[in-house]
Amino acid sequence: MTTVFDEVATGTKKLTVGQAVNRALGDALATDERVLLQGEDIGALGGVYRVTEGLAARFGSDRVVDAPLGESGIVGTSIGLAQAGFVPVAEIQFDGFVYPAFDQIVSQLAKMHSRFQGSQQFPVTIRLPYGGGIGSVEHHSESPEAYFAHTAGLKVVTYSNAHDAYWVTRAAIDSADPVLLLEPKKHYFVRGEVDFDVPTDNPFATVEARPGTDGTLLAWGPQVSTALAAAEAGVEDGYDLQVLDIRGLSPLDMTTIADAVKTTGRAVIIHESSTFAGFGAEISAGLMEQAFLSLEAPVQRVGGYHMPYPPSRLEQDYLPSVDRILDAVDETFTY
């Protein structure tokens, strides 16, 4: 799937999200010899989604390393590699396989900088393909962002298109702090324009994906496209809906979000994982605190139900849909 590139990218190119990530990883490896990739099957195979295709051949199996099959070991050794001066980029193969590494992420990696009183940096990036709608078996479709965003010391970021895939990945690797990089895997094969000129904005900021005045749809990663489709469909119902693409969950660009919702007065938050104690709750609570007087109606959440991610034949009923989003928008107009 992925083309292998030989030089650091420049100009503008049409790439899939997966190719953009591949290019970002390749450019990071090419420009900083401290960068080391490890993960299950990322070498000869190029990853189960071919996102790392060609990188082992180009940079050597010393820098693009097929790890033994232990997620805690992958994250734990990445911490040690950082202590030895490396900039590790660890891949966890699927969302549902990150939990064996939870202690090393939440209790070690996230806390090391603070624990060591800043005397050592831990620029570890954990790449985690996430999200559903891909018709796969159990544990391949989860959205664990809430578990991680709560964790101080960790940055949690994502993106929804090829351009951002490139720049968010570069920024994650460049970050002096540990970053959990959530990759919307159902978009790996979605193509878009990537501009390789260094962006002027912060790649982790929240950006407007579509302007609108009647209400704001807030989404990230795989659900930005659903939000955009809902906004489009909403036109027929007479709604002019704004869509915000949240790239950084931690840090969360609450200023941009609150300012936007203050203008529209209505907000619907969309995400795939269960709404209960999900990350949408933080945004809703944040709007409560920062935009209360401007709210025309309670902020609504559209997300997964309070159940484990269902078998794939049922996932379309489980995931947020255009109709469910517009229903929530309707609800805000009953106030």
Binding site: E40, A44, P68, F97, P100, M307, P308, P310, P311, R313
Partner: protein
């Protein structure tokens, strides 16, 4: 002797117990001594039953690949090449024993009498668990590598407590054993280690049954370990065996021994069956990216089904009649399966899933179910 040396350098470890040559002659390895008599004493009915399980499953396996290509399944995990190991293991068990499988134990599922369509319900994305575990004393396939292994140990711990004070005779009659299956890749997960420590500590009747098929997706065994995995057992204080997993009678004899040891209250045992994943990891995999066709064809020569057939023919004078019958039976199974699977409806709706999250009431789930009902009605109406 069935030593295999592969392009990636693997070779049956010298400690591996093997009895049959690749073409089905009795030709024991050095290390097989203690097991040759037991292995060769396995009667033809059991060998034939193993062959049947292997042949039936291989045909269904092929159908799994086909059905996935035709869009009927979301995924399929071929057991191709690993049939002898699984057949040897499952025929060593009593029905009352429990199996804790990975996602590739199709021969074992068949050995337990689990209908194919129940296995396939999992792979067509209809359910997370294809069957009701207590109907077959086999836990559904687990996808998170190694996670089922502590479950097996906990189960074994529980039955060890229940069997405390039993006489040897009663143990032999009623004693249960848990078999924890996992692969060479999964062996690296921390859960495997904790499971082994707990098993040793509580003397649980658990057999750790490793199918070392030399690959974890694209990762060769050498990345997980430079020495065979049966050697881990000694470090926990129990016995470990390496067996030629493509040799059905060697595997059966070693598993018989291991299961018997556990059943008598002797504590855990580890059996590492050296086999080979002849097919792709799953239908989503492309082995050409990471292994050579030479390697694949070399392993094709040690095909466990061929070996079993040869043994039945040579030692027990089985003839074409038998093999033809099994082939026809297998074909019929495939036909039946297709009928049940192609365009099969959902087995459960999302609405029903609400009621399965908790055994007891949960107001939030209930409220969401009500909202879901209303929503579905609106959808139908519009």
């Amino acid at each position: 002797m069935s030593t295999i040396s592969s392009p990636t350098g693997h070779q049956l470890p010298e400690e591996a117990i093997g009895v049959l040559s690749a073409d089905g002659f009795i030709d024991p390895t050095e290390s097989a001594k203690a097991f040759v008599d037991d292995a060769t004493a396995i009667d033809h009915e059991r060998v034939a039953e193993m062959y049947r399980l292997m042949a039936n499953t291989r045909r269904i396996d092929e159908e799994g690949v086909n059905l996935q290509r035709q869009g009927q399944l979301v995924l399929w995990t071929p057991s191709l090449g690993q049939e002898a190991a699984q057949a040897g293991a499952v025929t060593a068990l009593q029905d009352r024993d429990w199996i804790f499988p990975t996602y590739r134990e199709h021969v074992m599922a068949r050995g337990r009498g689990i209908p194919d369509e129940k296995v396939f319900d999992f792979f067509r994305g209809a359910v997370h668990a294809g069957w009701k575990p207590s109907d077959y004393n086999m836990q559904p396939y687990t996808v998170v590598l190694a996670a089922q292994v502590p479950h097996a140990v906990g189960y074994g711990w529980g039955i060890a407590q229940q069997q405390r004070g039993w006489t040897d005779a009663r143990r032999a009659e009623e004693g249960r054993v848990a078999v924890a299956c996992f692969g060479d890749g999964a062996s690296t997960e921390g859960d495997i280690h904790e499971a082994m420590v707990f098993a040793a500590s509580f003397d649980t009747p658990v057999v750790f049954f490793i199918q070392n098929n030399y690959w974890a997706i694209s990762t060769p065994f050498e990345v997980q370990s430079k020495v065979p995995l049966f050697k881990r057992a000694k470090g926990y204080g129990f016995e470990g065996f390496a067996v030629d997993g493509n040799d059905p009678i060697a595997t059966a004899a070693v598993m018989d021994h291991a299961v018997d040891h556990a059943r008598r209250g002797g504590g855990p045992v580890l059996v590492e069956a050296h086999t080979y994943r002849m097919g792709a990891h799953t239908t989503a995999d492309d082995p050409t990216k990471y292994r050579t066709s030479e390697e694949e064809s070399q392993y094709a020569q040690s095909d466990p089904m061929v070996r079993t057939e040869q043994y039945l023919r040579r030692r027990f004078d089985y003839t074409d009649a038998f093999f033809d019958e099994i082939a026809a039976e297998s074909e019929q199974l495939a036909v039946n399966l297709r009928e049940k699977i192609v365009d099969a409806p959902d087995t459960i709706s999302l609405r029903e899933k609400f009621d399965l999250v908790y055994a007891e009431e949960h107001p939030l789930v209930d409220a969401q179910a009500v909202a879901f009902d209303r929503w579905m009605e609106d959808e139908d109406a519009s």
